[in-house]
Symmetry: C2
Subunit: 228 residues, 2 copies
């Protein structure tokens, strides 16, 4: 079922808005109407309208012409959706042969349809994982989430050996490319070279060197091998 507020069922759309606003306000800073519109591929007036409805439901606070912030209740719903999304992704990859570049689209629809029971059973079948296939942390059922500290591959010193922890999942094409190179969470890489002025970096994994552009190196997040 959908999330509820005072026993009222939220629509798929509402859930998507709350998730989008959560994504756009990492530190609780207000999100702008047009950013939301852009992310959800809707017109700004549509967003204004929905924002009004959602703030009447107490899910967010809206200061006209200023921006939108989630309330506690709104953030709970958003985190619930994030949890669902990431667990579904993990489940589909683990048990149904999905690749990490195709799983996002499927999860995007399923997250609105699964029950809490199903989500928890998938979590149990996976052994209650803490991250999804892209390394994104999965919030607890109670809504707590732990972002793990990491640095972009682009910022690692030459010679250092690190473990890939997380990869931006917004572009399937990019994910496919990274998978082909074997650059995915859990893989240990050593930085062999970095060209100046935003030039390419050379990383070595399993003895094989790969040269990747600076832009790509920016979305591959790493941490020292030991920390977990």
């Amino acid at each position: 079922m959908h999330a509820t507020v005072d026993g009222e069922t939220l629509t798929r759309s509402s859930e998507d808005y709350l998730k989008a606003i959560y994504r756009l306000s990492p530190e609780g800073r207000p999100a702008s109407t047009s950013d939301i519109a852009h992310l959800l591929e809707l017109s700004p007036p549509s967003v204004s309208g929905m924002v009004k409805r959602l703030s009447e439901l107490g899910l967010l606070e809206h200061v006209p012409y200023k921006g939108v912030q989630l309330t506690g209740a709104g953030r709970r719903v958003a985190l619930r959706m994030v949890r669902r999304h990431r667990l579904i992704e993990a489940y589909l990859v683990q048990f149904l042969g999905y690749s990490w570049d195709t799983v996002h689209v499927e999860a995007e629809r399923l997250e609105h349809a699964v029950s809490d029971t199903l989500v928890e059973r998938m979590s149990a079948a996976l052994g209650h994982p803490s991250v999804d296939p892209h390394g994104d942390p999965i919030p607890d059922a109670d809504g707590s989430i732990r972002e793990l500290a990491s640095r972009a591959l682009a910022d690692i010193s030459v010679g250092q050996t690190v473990e890939i922890r997380r990869v931006d999942d917004s572009d399937p094409e990019r994910l496919r490319y990274l998978a082909a190179l074997g650059l995915m969470p859990g893989v240990v890489v050593t930085l062999r070279d970095r060209q100046p002025f935003g030039g390419p970096v050379t990383v070595e994994t399993a003895g094989v060197p790969h040269v990747i552009g600076a832009e790509l190196a920016q979305v591959v997040l790493c941490a020292p091998e030991e920390a977990r």
Copy 2:
């Protein structure tokens, strides 16, 4: 994704209507507005309205004041939904610990959200089953469905031994009761006694006799052990 007609996506509601009409017209006999309304728990005018839209899409034929029949396209959509529903049920029971009385509700929402790809992967994971946990046949991906011949437990002769093939899944309470008695598809039972005038029947399974009412015996369908 949802079923499409000429590239147009059908809504969840449309899919539910088509499935309901399929259920209500076993031999292609027209279904009445009020039967549809009753099954979907909607008002008759709502049904009239939707019927109009769906017949404009070429999914069904409507003779006002007479009834509604699926077209070929409409039946294809309906069978696709039935396939999804039953495969989802089978998957959830097999892999995620669902019981056959709780699985229906979950499948009812998921059937609108899963992609064809996911359905086929679930089918493959199950070894392409031909029936769901209640013994209902699963249509092929191409839309062909084979109803297996069976007789109600209420109509078996005393002394005969048969295999349970299928159980009506519309009442979770009843399913739970039958499961408690061990009366489920695949189980072999021998009819020991039947009281006249719609009285109870006594069946024996694994050496244990159970007395069940005539109404219940009517929805438990059986076939000779060998046929499959």
